[in-house]
Subunit: 202 residues, 2 copies
């Protein structure tokens, strides 16, 4: 950040008041499904499966995938604790903007710390934030290792890898909790969808 | 940015390949209308007016307003040249994500440099980027001065203010060019809408 001397950077911001339009055109209020969990837990796979179900229902959706965003919006960020928190913050801000615009947003992001996820929840709003904990035993994620990342983290090629030498803090009270080693992708999608229909349909 | 020693921060990014869905459900391809111009040129006002027209047509829209974003996604950024470029980059990335999701996006952002706007165009894609130059003589913007910012910039309370002690580079070849001191808001909205219907309707 670059602050010019004697110049309060926030001081001359006067947000324009835009005309409010009703963006919601279905019984489904726009919301954010926030998938958190270890690398290779199945977050993106389950989000992708759920996305098809939601689109078939007529919802407008967007997927915000941690890995993809790091090649775009968050390309200036690394994997230090501070940069990871900033990564989570930006994704949450974008998800909030998209929800404002009427989209149902699926976020697939390791988001390892409780604090950052809590901050994300506060940005998005508790009533439209659905935390989905995709749990898998570390040994299973390591055995899957579709990208060879765990192997490289173990051989110290990668530093600060979540689950190996960087902690993952499991959610204390997520809206949804799935064990991806004990349920199929279709099963996980079905569970989330059933929960949404029961709890979150307008 | 924080790069850990011996650890290529880009190296372990493997974007997941999500199922592609057709998000476009009208004859109107999702695109970005990028309003650039001096502070008080009328960017947000015209964007807001156009937004109502587009929504009435059944389009899903989102407004990304520079001032509003600086209280959220871009709150860590100041007004140095470098921070302004990063501001433009992030807005462009978010606009691209929203367009991918099927929204028509209206960006109201001073975005003073040609280089940053060109970069925004490259991120969003030339075929879905509409640069709208909202021109106004500096003297008129200063006379309007709805937020008292020009007065404060002249009295050196604000440093680096576009048009006063920080340059604005007019677009060389914008898709649309309006003079907001010679046309009403409704007139400007009508011109843009007519252009869209003629050139950009599917």
């Amino acid at each position: 950040m670059n602050i010019q001397s004697g110049f309060n950077t926030r001081e001359h911001i006067y947000p324009y008041t835009f005309t409010r339009h009703k963006t919601q055109d279905s019984a489904w209020p726009p919301q954010v499904l926030w998938f958190t969990g270890l690398s290779a837990a199945g977050k993106s796979t389950i989000a992708n499966g759920l996305n098809s179900v939601l689109i078939a229902r007529g919802l407008k959706t967007a997927i915000l995938d941690g890995d993809s965003l790091r090649t775009g919006l968050c390309r200036d960020l690394g994997f230090s604790e501070q940069d990871r928190d900033e990564n989570v913050r930006r994704v949450a801000e974008v998800a909030a903007l998209m929800t404002d615009a009427g989209l149902t947003v699926l976020v697939a992001l390791i988001s390892p710390t409780r604090e950052a996820r809590h901050y994300a929840r506060s940005i998005i709003g508790n009533d439209r934030f659905v935390e989905v904990f995709v749990e898998v035993p570390l040994a299973v994620a390591e055995a899957r290792d579709p990208k060879g990342l765990y192997r490289r983290a173990r051989s110290v090629e990668l530093a600060g890898f979540t689950g190996i030498d960087s902690p993952y803090e499991p959610p204390v009270c997520p809206e949804l909790h799935l064990r991806s080693d004990q349920i199929s992708v279709a099963g996980a999608v079905g569970l989330i969808d059933a929960w949404l229909r029961r709890v979150r349909a307008g």
